[in-house]
Amino acid sequence: MRNLMLTGTLLALSGAALAHHSFAMFDKTRTVNIDGVIKNVEWNNPHVWIWVTVPNQNGGSDDWGLESGGPSQMNRMGLRRSVFKTGDKISVEVYPMKDGRVGGQLSKATLADGTKIDVMKSVKAFAAGGQTVEGGETPAQ
């Protein structure tokens, strides 16, 4: 089992003033946990989107669209496009859409092989000294 640190994604997801976009469409006050199967992966710019088919209460299913970091960011944290395989089971924690549609921003995921992805923990890990900084701003501990 691996724990992948999404150090790159934080740059897009943490609300930096001039990041790609504002993320204001996601409800950051709560998370939703869903279990499903990966239907499709849009491994493209400016953001990777992972589509997950999830059973709904009506006996059917919904396709959740989950926004993640950009491809270059994902690569830099060692998360290659081959990690997300169509047809694999996946458990995901997301910040849901504010408007109630099925979709949101990826927060955490557990892949079929047990690989865990934790965006916010990765933020803290990065801040806690993943890099040696000489003469620069001291990272928060």
């Binding site: 504002s22 469409m25 669209g65 549609r101």
Partner: protein, 251 residues
């Protein structure tokens, strides 16, 4: 009624042709000492790897206070008119321009060549700056997103003066209006640490200079990766600038 003096036209054309022939057959144009490979070889190593901004995460990744611009009343009024959560250029896949392209939270790379330094960010393949070290003046350039940059070395510090940034290029989430002037001082503070000092002025939007000091960490094994924003953007904002998401299935 204007009459065209054909002989004058022909003389001018002949002059152009003669000039072209001279340039081909004659000496290469003279260059200043800064425009040489031997000069490039002496520049500090900004080139190895890529540089990522060293955020302070103590506030969950929020922008440091130093980034808050000293907005004037006119700028505050313009911001107040925007819809809440209005998107910037990034969500539209438009260039961030200067100084935005240096601040998006995506890593950047330096490329040195004779007489010039290029800076590229892989947030978007539109974000390329050229800094001319082989001239010291702005020669009435057309306004552009990144403006016209001339630089020189003061010891190990690269000093850059940038002007001619276009009206649309954002400054503090507003269209700059075309009067932004930026002075940057960039230096290594350690083998893998880069300090970036910016002083931004804009009389239309700011009460005085907006001064920032930012630090970047070197990632020696990172390579620039092309990132074409328009290829799959689902975050294009509504007409009034409000954030929105396109959840239309594509497959």
């Amino acid at each position: 009624m204007h009459r065209i003096d054909r002989s004058a036209v022909w003389l001018a054309a002949a002059g152009i042709l003669a000039g072209g022939a001279t340039a081909q057959a004659g000496q290469a144009p003279a260059r200043p000492a800064s425009d040489s490979w031997s000069a490039v070889a002496k520049w500090p190593d900004f080139m190895t790897g890529m540089w990522a901004e060293n955020y302070s995460f103590s506030s969950g990744g929020a922008s440091p206070a130093s980034r808050q611009p000293p907005l004037n009343e006119a700028a505050k009024a313009l911001l107040a008119k925007r819809v809440k959560g209005a998107e910037g250029n990034g969500a539209r896949c438009l260039p961030l321009g200067m100084p935005g392209m240096m601040m998006p939270g995506y890593p950047m790379a330096f490329f040195f060549t004779r007489g010039s330094i290029f800076i590229m960010s892989d947030m978007d393949d539109l974000l390329v700056r050229r800094i001319f070290l082989n001239r010291s003046t702005h020669n009435d350039p057309d306004p552009s997103w990144n403006g016209d940059s001339v630089g020189h070395w003061e010891g190990g510090t690269l000093v850059i003066d940038t002007t001619a940034i276009n009206e649309q290029a954002p400054l503090a989430d507003l269209p700059s209006g075309g009067k932004t002037h930026i002075v940057e001082r960039i230096r290594l503070t350690g083998p893998n640490a880069l300090e970036w000092k910016l002083t931004v002025t804009n009389p239309d939007l700011l009460t005085g200079p907006w001064e920032m000091t930012k630090t970047y960490v070197r990632h020696a094994d990172w390579e620039l990766q092309q990132a074409s924003c328009a290829e799959g953007n689902r975050d294009a904002p509504a007409g009034n600038g409000a954030a929105q998401v396109d959840l239309t299935p594509r497959k």
